[in-house]
């Protein structure tokens, strides 16, 4: 039996500004080994992955499956690949991500928390942060688990500081930008005023 779960919640005209242009998507990939004479009905495996496109997601599926079972892309088949969309991209959540990464000296586990409206956004933040803080590139990162954490159970101060219903802070540094890139000039007539 093929798990034909099509989790395709298409949310109409949501404009979620991505401040980076590497958009991570969440895919559900279902695959199995090819049926042989000895095993006519091999077990079907399903994985949830994050990657930039479907092709890479399928490739990553085989990468993980090879490590877990004795099956490769050459003697296996992908049965389904569906993109999973965020159910409520207008709600802010605290996402906890457990990951395993390879550093210059070995493998380590890590738990990171992010605040974002979508899980894909949080995953993208995670990749970005791992690259900047630990110099770990995306092929060396494996996501073990992700979860939406309720505010009470958050562990990191940097996410807990936004759990304030009366949050209030000034914007201290104001950079005046031209409203479009077209109006950008190299030289300005006067020095900009950076104070609010």
């Amino acid at each position: 039996m093929i798990e034909g779960l099509f989790v395709g919640l298409l949310i109409g005209s949501i404009c979620v500004f991505s401040f980076l242009f590497v958009q991570y998507h969440q895919y559900q990939v279902v695959g199995r080994a090819l049926p042989t004479e000895s095993d006519g009905h091999p077990k079907i495996y399903r994985m949830k992955l994050w990657n930039t496109n479907e092709v890479r997601a399928k490739s990553k599926f085989w990468y993980f499956l090879r490590k877990l079972k004795k099956v490769k892309k050459s003697n296996g088949q992908i049965l389904a690949i569906n993109e999973i969309f965020e159910k409520n991209p207008t709600k802010i959540n605290n996402y906890g991500i457990w990951l395993r990464y390879q550093s210059r000296t070995g493998y380590h586990n890590m738990y990171k928390e992010f605040r974002d409206t979508t899980l894909n956004g949080a995953v993208e933040q995670m990749y970005s942060e791992m690259a900047s803080r630990h110099r770990v590139r995306s092929p060396c990162i494996q996501i073990i688990k992700t979860a939406t954490i309720p505010a009470k159970l958050c562990k990191r101060e940097s996410t807990k500081q936004f759990h304030n219903s009366k949050i209030k802070f000034p914007l201290v540094f104001k950079k005046v930008r031209p409203p479009t890139r077209k109006l950008k000039t190299t030289y300005k007539a006067s020095r900009p005023n950076l104070f609010v």
Binding site: I14, D116, T159, S165, K166, R177, P179
Partner: protein, 133 residues
């Protein structure tokens, strides 16, 4: 030395970059240090970087992440539109928009009106000079 405009829930801000340039939005929640969840009566609630927002003096009284209906009611009650259009910043923007949308005939009319205004001013000035001389 003190900050007067704060990022807070209910602060009205103007979008100064991007697709929704020039729109007034309300900060409905804060995602993290750089981003806010903003909402306006005619757009889907989305997240924006603070770099794309300019805070205004107007603040409305809402809870964290209100429903769309509640938000619209609160905006009506606080008369955001009225306050904005009567503020000097808001008026300047309206004038800018009007000037940008003039056609050639309108610009001709503006030229005539400016000449007329200038001539009236000079007449008054001449009168005052005569009186003081």
């Amino acid at each position: 030395m003190g900050f007067k405009r704060y990022v807070e829930i209910g602060r009205v801000a103007l979008i100064n970059y991007g697709k929704d340039y020039g729109k007034l939005v309300v900060i409905v929640d804060v995602v993290d240090q750089n981003r806010a969840l903003v909402d306006a009566p005619d757009m889907v609630r989305s997240q924006l970087n603070f770099k794309r927002l300019t805070l205004t003096d107007i603040k409305i009284d809402i809870n964290r992440v209100p429903r769309k209906k509640t938000l619209i009611e609160a905006m009506e009650k606080a008369d955001v539109k009225g306050k904005w259009e009567s503020s000097s910043w808001g008026r300047k923007l309206i004038v800018q928009k009007k000037r940008a949308s003039l056609n050639d005939f309108d610009r001709f009319k503006v030229m005539l009106a400016k000449i007329k205004r200038g001539s009236l001013v000079r007449q008054e000035l001449a009168k005052l000079k005569k009186e003081s001389a």
